[in-house]
Amino acid sequence: MDCFHCSKSAVIEVQHGALCKTHFINYFEEKVLKTINKYRLIGRKDILCVATSGGKDSLTVLYLTKKYCERNNIPTKNIRALAIDEGIAEYREKTIIDLQKFCSDHQIPLEIVSFETELGKTLDQAYPIINKGTQKKPCNVCGVWRRYLLNKYAAKSGATKVITGHNLDDEAQVIMMNIFKANTQLAGRMGPISGIEESEHFIQRVKPLYFCLEKEVRLYALLKGFQVQFTECPYSKEGFRHHVQEMLNDFEQKYKGTKQGIINSFLALLPNIREQEKGRIDEIKQCSRCGEAANKEVCNACVMKEMIING
């Protein structure tokens, strides 16, 4: 099949037709840059901390954040990358090698923070201890500690925004997970800008890839020659998300546009959800132990740390 715009061979079929390599790259970049503009994800005075792992999403968002800044005369010295090393054997060390090379090639400063140094244990060591008393899945432990360190180190670096590589698939999955679990409070925090808009304890998280399908991100990274190797987290299949992901991919194959439909419906409802959850969503406290953002007196990261100390 030829490209919708020219006679070259297509590399992907998107909603409005098939696209060749050149037209796909243009389409993808314009979509991301338009998202940044439409939702005002990046401001002229922002200090940007890009949450990175070395995977396709984070390398793509890092690259396009830099491109956006260059295009809009925003100093690229305001961009830094932050990676969290969870300590998952045979997994994270591989993606960090790709990330270090990418940051070096693109002259972006990179900071790597590890669970082990910060919290005393790797995820591999911590998860069985925490699971014993709580039945928590590794993804629950990982998510809490990752968000904790991300906010802490972004703040330390003076960042005013945290940029994440969440794509349309990630977001559609979380929307469905929140529906399945009737978690309207969490749903109210979602969207291209997540988190609390104004809080001295919490740095706003923004998602330039919000409208990009995971397939599009992988293709973009491949066509741009980003060095991304496929590695699989050994815990990934244990989480609830994995089942939702498979379900949505199955639906997408049968009913094209399913994921986009979920996002569009959610964004139409989001103002109502936020209105309904007002008061609960805006309430953000400071952990009495570590001083980080918390939704109760002691944050979940500290609660988990205590479980480890008590064995």
Partner: protein, 67 residues
């Protein structure tokens, strides 16, 4: 016809006898959801309506992150 298929996710290389016509037919035969893989032949990404030829070598690249 005989073709070779490398699956990035499974890290497997299969030599298979294929009697279909297109890449879509091939993915169907391998029970692979086209939403979660990119198909590469001779270093070029191709889409489902491309014709499969004898001795073709395909790479199936996983779209889904492993994390």
């Amino acid at each position: 016809m005989n073709i070779t298929v490398y699956n990035e996710r499974e890290k497997t290389t299969l030599q298979i006898e294929f009697n279909g016509k297109t890449v879509t037919d091939l993915l169907k035969e391998l029970k692979i959801n086209p939403e979660v893989f990119l198909v590469v032949r001779n270093n070029e990404v191709i889409i489902g309506d491309e014709t499969v030829h004898d001795n073709d070598v395909f790479e199936l690249l996983s779209v889904v992150s492993g994390g």
